[in-house]
């Protein structure tokens, strides 16, 4: 991890303890997860207890302490999506890429997550891959939606 970037983030937030959640959100923006050595570095620089940082990292759902895949699949499990069959979509994804919710595929291609509600309830059931939204999804669509991501060349 490049600590220069971390220093920049800390400076932007004026090394404020109250800004720790925003700091961690910005840090996670770099590598898509929070590496332990980075959290230790932040703790040292801010003179903030490491237990408090880990408390926040494990309390808020947005934070991940393990690396994520290149593509994040987020299945909305809001009420409208649930009624529209979000569980069946989720199960179909699990069968297709062979991982459970919260896991990452062995080849680090996909991470699978559920999200409480994306606020796009009129489009239910909704699924988001990275930044791309898919609306009115049904289990029969899953393979078709996932395959273009598998074909993308390595960066």
């Amino acid at each position: 991890m490049n600590f220069e970037k971390i220093d920049h983030i800390l400076k932007e937030h004026e090394y404020k303890h109250s800004a720790i959640i925003s700091i961690m959100q910005d840090v996670q923006g770099i590598e898509n997860y929070l590496p332990e050595d980075t959290l230790r570095y932040i703790s040292e620089k801010l003179e903030l207890n490491l237990t408090r940082i880990f408390d926040i990292a494990t309390f808020y759902k947005t934070f991940s302490l393990t690396p994520r895949g290149r593509h994040t699949i987020r299945v909305c499990s809001g009420t409208a999506c649930h009624l529209g069959g979000a569980v069946k979509n989720l199960e179909q994804i699990q069968r297709t890429i062979n991982i459970q919710e919260g896991e990452t595929t062995d080849d680090r291609m996909f991470s699978l997550e559920t999200v409480n509600c994306l606020g796009a309830c009129a489009l239910a059931p909704v699924m988001v891959i990275d930044e791309d939204y898919y609306d009115a999804v049904n289990p029969g669509d899953i393979e078709k939606f996932l395959s273009p991501y598998c074909l993308e060349p390595e960066v």
């Binding site: 309390f59 009420t79 409480n116 509600c117 289990p139 029969g140």
Partner: protein, 617 residues
């Protein structure tokens, strides 16, 4: 840049902006909110821009990129003014026709008009659409009409007039009293009188006070706050500045879910623009009043929508609620008196200041004043955002505005209030929607989610769904919530899996009442509502699950089978081709069969069959 240095500069600026506007100019209002963006509106708008440039029309036609129109399902939406023509589900391929026919010749492109699924009639204009016709848009009026990233558009639509009036002609005490007299109640869920909160905070002795706008819209199925923040961010900011002036605060916080990146972007731009124009920051409009706003992004914790948890989260800690009193109005952020209101509540303030408390309190019912925005979703025909007067009946909302139930199925229930709310059955369809009636019916107003269910929705599964949701969102601090949720969820999961036993219903009821009376915060105290309300109105369905081992709606996997009705099946083979488990057999043009031993109940065949020959038994 036109900085407003004295209080009269605002009116001069407004006149100047309005003078430059040509009301007869053709304007195409396009939506750039989450819903339409998800349906590729950015691509469509760029195709429109290209086409207008190619035809040399860029000077004659204005493209206005607005926030949410409320009819997200029909996105991408385009409304062509001044004729008010409403086009839906516009694709890049439709652009050439829109420009050559509608813009150049004034003709309608019929295939892009909205068509009523029931009557098969087309609707030409936005104002004639059933979804909009019965609405009373006071708070969401600008959303979908103005460009939310252009402060001058907001000012042209009377924006910041309420702030002008408050700062130039009212004392802080007068503002507090007008909000008290309006009887406005908080739109976040609890429904506490907003004016009282302001009065208490205003009287609290402290040099430092804070204003917090709660935009942590966590209720699944609700998206009115997102739409308001994306579509009319200045309205919220203006409400916050007025509140700050009323109680003497100089710092405000906007707490927004990080799942709403466009809302965060639009609010950030709005704050920056308001500062540039002298409407926010130091010495607002030259009056000597200082107020700054910063944005805090939520980090995916539902419990942070609870006010004490949200405050702790802004302080940079894990957002666990604390017991009240002391209420935030006495002791809030960093121990200082704090007003925390929902963003929609702040959205109500400007009209109360401009039109007065009497005008406001004439709208609505005795105990619930004004209008409320609901997100009408689920198995209803027209889904979207609906702003109606308090006291409008459920029937008017679901059947007149929402157009009834999809696929001609039967209405079963409507769920309001998110995980803290309840399910209301058909017998209460003529009930007025207000804080007190909903509570009486075992639900709550909540933030305004209204999820419509039909005969394919299982009420036991819905109850389990909400408990499952809360099980993960409970902060774990108090025992009744942490353990109560776990036990209730365990019982409900058993019921849904076909392992329900005699005594389960009684145990759920007892645990539910225990949690209500002993939990620390609103999350635990309202968590049993979805279970208790479904037990009250849909007792039969629990009985069917526990004793008959059947899920009548066909949702709980262990309790139903899919079967093909041989009298309906025409042997099109679609289900057979798509079945991932090869569990369907049959020859072309002959009735097919499902091998139930192989079937994994993924539902693909059920969704695919156009003749609805796949049935649940």
């Amino acid at each position: 840049m036109k900085q407003i240095k004295t209080i009269s500069d605002l009116e001069d600026l407004r006149k100047c902006i309005l003078k430059q506007k040509d009301p007869d100019k053709i304007t195409i209002r396009t939506c750039l909110s989450t819903g339409c963006r998800a349906k590729k509106s950015i691509k469509v708008i760029s195709a429109l821009e290209d086409e207008l440039n190619n035809q040399g029309l860029q000077e004659k036609v204005e493209i206005k990129k607005t926030g949410c129109h409320g009819f997200c399902e029909m996105g991408p939406i385009m409304v062509i003014e001044p004729a008010n023509i409403f086009y839906r589900q516009v694709t890049s391929e439709d652009i050439a026709d829109i420009v050559s026919e509608t813009i150049l010749k004034g003709n309608i492109v019929k295939r892009l008009l909205w068509k009523d699924a029931g009557t098969k009639e087309y609707t030409k204009t936005e104002k004639e659409l059933p979804l909009y016709k019965k609405q009373k848009k006071h708070i969401s009026y600008n959303s979908g009409k103005i460009n939310p990233t252009d402060i001058e558009d907001y000012i042209a639509a009377d924006g910041y007039s309420a702030l002008y009036k408050a700062l130039s002609a009212m004392t802080p005490a007068e503002i507090v009293e007008i909000v008290v007299a309006s009887d406005l109640r908080g739109r976040g869920g609890g429904g506490f009188p907003t004016g009282l909160k302001w009065r208490i905070c205003s009287a609290a002795p402290s040099d430092i006070k804070y204003i917090i706008a709660n935009g942590d819209e966590g209720d699944p199925g609700a998206f009115m706050d997102r739409s308001l923040m994306e579509g009319d961010p200045h309205r919220i900011i203006e409400g916050m500045i007025i509140a700050a002036y009323a109680i003497g605060a100089s710092q405000g916080f906007l707490y927004v879910r990080e799942e709403y990146p466009i809302a965060i972007e639009h609010l950030s731009i709005a704050i920056q623009k308001a500062e540039e124009y002298g409407l926010l920051g130091n010495n607002i409009m030259g009056t000597g009043f200082d107020f700054n706003i910063s944005i805090n992004k939520g980090a995916g914790a539902f419990v942070c929508g609870e006010e004490t948890a949200l405050i702790i989260s802004i302080e940079g800690k894990s957002g666990t609620p604390r017991s009240r009193p002391p209420y935030p109005a006495f002791e809030g952020l960093w121990g200082k008196p704090t007003i925390i209101n929902n963003v929609e509540t702040f959205g109500n303030i400007t009209q109360i200041i401009l039109k007065g408390a009497d005008w406001y309190s004439n709208i609505g019912t005795t105990g619930s004043k004004g209008t409320k925005i609901f997100s009408l979703v689920g198995k209803v025909r027209n889904t979207g955002l609906v702003e109606v007067e308090m006291g409008t009946t459920l029937r008017e909302i679901i059947f007149d505005i929402g157009g009834g139930i999809r696929k001609n199925r039967q209405f079963k229930a409507v769920q309001t209030g998110g995980p803290s709310g309840g399910c209301i059955p058909i017998s209460k369809i003529d009930m007025p929607v207000d804080y007190d009636s909903l509570r009486e019916a075992g639900a709550i107003m909540g933030s305004g989610g209204m999820i419509v269910m039909d005969e394919t929705s299982c009420m036991v599964d819905i109850a389990r769904y909400f408990l499952n949701f809360l099980l993960f969102e409970s902060c774990g601090k108090c025992v009744p919530c942490r353990e109560g949720l776990k036990q209730m969820h365990y019982i409900l999961t058993n019921i849904c899996e076909g392992k329900g036993e005699k005594g389960d219903i009684e145990a759920l009821t007892e645990l539910g009442h225990f949690m209500i009376s002993t939990s620390l915060c609103g999350l635990g105290a309202t968590a049993p509502n979805p279970v208790l309300s479904t037990l009250r109105y849909f007792h039969d369905e629990y009985v069917a699950h526990i004793y008959d081992k059947k899920c009548p709606a066909g949702v709980c996997k262990n309790l139903f089978e899919y079967m093909i009705d041989e009298t309906l099946c025409n042997g099109c083979t679609l289900c057979k081709v798509k079945c991932p488990e090869k569990a369907i057999s049959g020859e072309k043009k002959k009735p097919h069969r499902i091998n139930t031993a192989k079937c994994i109940k993924c539902g693909i065949c059920y969704n695919l069959c156009k003749r609805q020959a796949v049935i649940v038994i």
